[in-house]
Amino acid sequence: MAEMFQVRDLRLSLPDLGRKPLLGAAPRIDILRGLGFDIAKGEVLGIVGGSGSGKSTLGRALVRLLEPTGGSIVFEGTDITHLDETGLRPLRRRFQMIFQDPMSSLNPRHRVGTIIGAPLALHGFDGIPERVEQALDHVGLPAAFRSRYPHELSGGQRQRVGIARAIAMEPDFILADEIVSGLDVSSQAQVLTLLERLVAELGLTLAFISHDLSVIRRLCSRVLVLQHGAIVEQAATDRLFAAPQAAYTRDLLAAIPLPDPDQVWV
């Protein structure tokens, strides 16, 4: 089928432990309030929103790091909404995630080769050293980096290792959670160019979470705008930038300071 992900009325609430009474359950905070959208095979979907919009939570729900409290997520025909770890394990190699913070997303006491190779070993791949080398090559890092530790790499290089780890398993879908937000402008440009190339070369389906609409415009074919746990607008990228429908989208666009002194920005 054409739809890789089908999300219907997705809800997720977490207990507010700060307000928990002595006896009884804590009151719950609704983070995701009924989201519905599809992700087509081969598309790059942008998910944009401010802090507190729920975009990170949505991402983690899609790869089942969190379990939804309501609604459904269907991945390639399988309902993964409430599947337990045993049921998820065989599916895990088909959807992967790249994390935001290059410092904390790589185990500081594992070498790069182990970081990329361990998930492969878990899923019973063969020829792991070759696959690790191939993954490093795909992201433009020399094979010698395999014996380095994360602290011996720059932020941009670490982020590329995170990408290599995700693509090494040849997944169908990758979730990228604010992967360029912590990077310098030059590293950011490099990583995005790399991602563009990989999507084309490997036929990946990507969900790209960011707070930066400028970055989203470059990479994504369709955009979801989130505010307070709900979708306020979904549209093809060009249409969103040319004619934003929701007031929130317009506010976001108007707030972006372009590197142009002539921009009308008051």
Partner: protein, 290 residues
């Protein structure tokens, strides 16, 4: 006549072979907003800290001058330097969370400097604090003065910090990446506030940032840094029209610009990096020999 003038400032981590700041020179006129731009590790924060006298203990100044209103801060005895900086300068820090003392109320934190260093009465300081909080559009200044930092939102805390910086009419404010951690809509509010207050009070502003978009909105002039070396120093108008230095040009091309998706977010080419690195190496050789 500039209010702040940095001349040939070099600094390094104690015991390290390479310099952190390489012969940095820049000036800020009274009432001017100058941007200090560069990637992480370029030294832009270090310069701000050097001016305010808050360099980390591990960093030593090797040579150069920091002239504040004509007096070289580096030649003053430490107590006199602290007094002079405290009386004429202020900082808008990057992280509103850690910049406020969590166990003291907002009011005393804002007025301490006024009472201790400038010798104001508590009443006068409190009135000043109240006025400033109103100026940064905080609805109920009296209540906020009595609150603790954890009772305020991130945006509110940043407003308090901005207000604190402008207390006692400093001649120079160093803003160290004040909006990096903020949402884009909150950033717009905060930048508007800073620009507005700067214009009203006529304060000189040294604005440290990595975001060229922000620079184009707030600054009149900028210095671009690479590895602790100033590679371009020009007005904002001239810079965005045609940056002179290849590295600065590449930085601009790499900056996201959604109105021009194909000609922005361009990675910096290796030969540009090699070129600017060669410049740095040549400067190091000259410094070691001369």
């Amino acid at each position: 006549m500039s209010f702040l003038e940095v001349r040939n400032l070099s600094a390094r981590v104690r015991g390290a072979p390479d310099r952190l700041l390489r012969d940095v020179s820049l000036s800020v006129a009274p009432g001017e907003v100058r941007g200090l731009v560069g990637e992480s590790g370029a030294g832009k924060s270090m310069i701000g800290k050097a001016v305010l006298g808050i360099l980390p203990r591990a960093v030593e100044v090797l040579c150069g001058e920091i002239l504040l209103g004509g007096t070289d801060l580096l030649r003053l005895p430490p107590a006199e330097r602290r007094r002079r900086i405290g009386a004429t300068c202020a900082l808008i820090p990057q992280d509103p969370l850690t910049a406020l003392n969590p166990s003291r109320r907002i009011g005393p934190q804002m007025t301490d400097r006024l009472v201790d260093i400038l010798g104001w009465t508590r009443a006068k300081a409190d009135a000043c604090a109240r006025d400033l909080l109103a100026e940064v559009q905080i609805a109920d200044p009296d209540r906020v003065l009595r609150q603790y930092p954890h009772e305020l939102s991130g945006g509110m805390r940043q407003r308090v910090l901005i207000a604190s910086a402008f207390a006692a009419e400093p001649k120079l404010i160093v803003a160290d990446e004040p909006t990096t951690a903020l949402d884009v809509t909150v950033q717009k509010e905060v930048l508007r506030l800073i620009a507005g207050m700067q214009a009203r009070h006529g304060t000189a502003l040294l604005f440290v940032t990595h975001d060229l978009g922000v620079v184009s909105k707030v600054c009149q002039s900028l210095s671009v840094l690479y590895a602790g070396m100033v590679v371009e120093d020009t007005t904002v108008r001239d810079f965005f029209r045609a940056p002179a230095h290849p590295y600065a040009r590449a930085l601009l091309a790499a900056t996201p610009k959604y109105t021009d998706p194909d000609r922005s977010l361009v990675p910096v080419a290796q030969d540009v990096l090699d070129g600017v690195q060669a410049q740095v190496d040549a400067a190091d050789r000259g410094w070691r020999n001369g």
